[in-house]
Symmetry: C2
Subunit: 178 residues, 2 copies
Amino acid sequence: MSNATPGIAEITRAIRNVPDFPKPDIQFKDITPVLADAALFAACIDLLTADVKPGSVDAVVGIDARGFIFAAAAAIKLKAGFVPVRKKSKLPYTCYEQSYDLEYGTNTVAIHIDAVKPGARVILVDDLLATGGTAAAAVALLERIGANVVEVSFLIELSFLDGRKKLANQNVRSLVTY
Amino acid sequence: MSNATPGIAEITRAIRNVPDFPKPDIQFKDITPVLADAALFAACIDLLTADVKPGSVDAVVGIDARGFIFAAAAAIKLKAGFVPVRKKSKLPYTCYEQSYDLEYGTNTVAIHIDAVKPGARVILVDDLLATGGTAAAAVALLERIGANVVEVSFLIELSFLDGRKKLANQNVRSLVTY
């Protein structure tokens, strides 16, 4: 790699395709080679937050577990706080919960009722936009506690799953689209 | 809070005690108020990596899930890569696994066999040193892939659980001790 700051092309090349994970016929996009490379990881965070000035948002929201990686890193870069959205029963204090449909069954995510002050400006940063169910549930939780969701950013978007439709009222950014 | 950079006293004051979580008689130390405060979160990362110069380590290792928050943030600050240690079956590529004893039963964590190059200098950053089982298993995995573990840093240490004994050959740092 050259000394120039890497861009989306270099990030895309570093994503490793793992066939048949977690089940047959799924082509899993393994981002760990991107994370392990200091320049590529920093470039991801820069690109995911390219429109957000440091100090201009109160918090970056991350979804358990891979989303924590990008959101926490973005929070440090933007001089913002970090707010977790977690699977039900993982957060210790009083929570709001939001369920959403999966292919089979439902899933529930939660946020602390006092995670941000009403009117706080936040961005949501996650690794993957697939069907959009988790991200839409996280946005619903953020709106319930009075947050102003400025932008929703994803490293990868699986566009054939139409996840953007579930985030129709949001500013959505993704870096790498399949 | 003043405009001065907050220190360990301010971080400690922001940790919220939640009684009887996740089960009766456990006093859970809720760090989400620390994370949500931009100055406190940045101070945590600065203090957790106080002895590590930016550019001097190849990667920061984080343990699923809360450990991801601190390790990813530290990686961006130190201009290092990020390496995840995850619960068994979560990482998509070929892994080494390490089991450790719990109060009842065992747990298994995993790392990609190519997570770092042999000889890479890494630090492990996590939220909590309790019995030390998870951290010791992570160190064992890192040594198996040839990493040089320079330091192991925790936000909180529950000293009455003697977790340091399981990390006897490591440089261990913790910010807040109960």
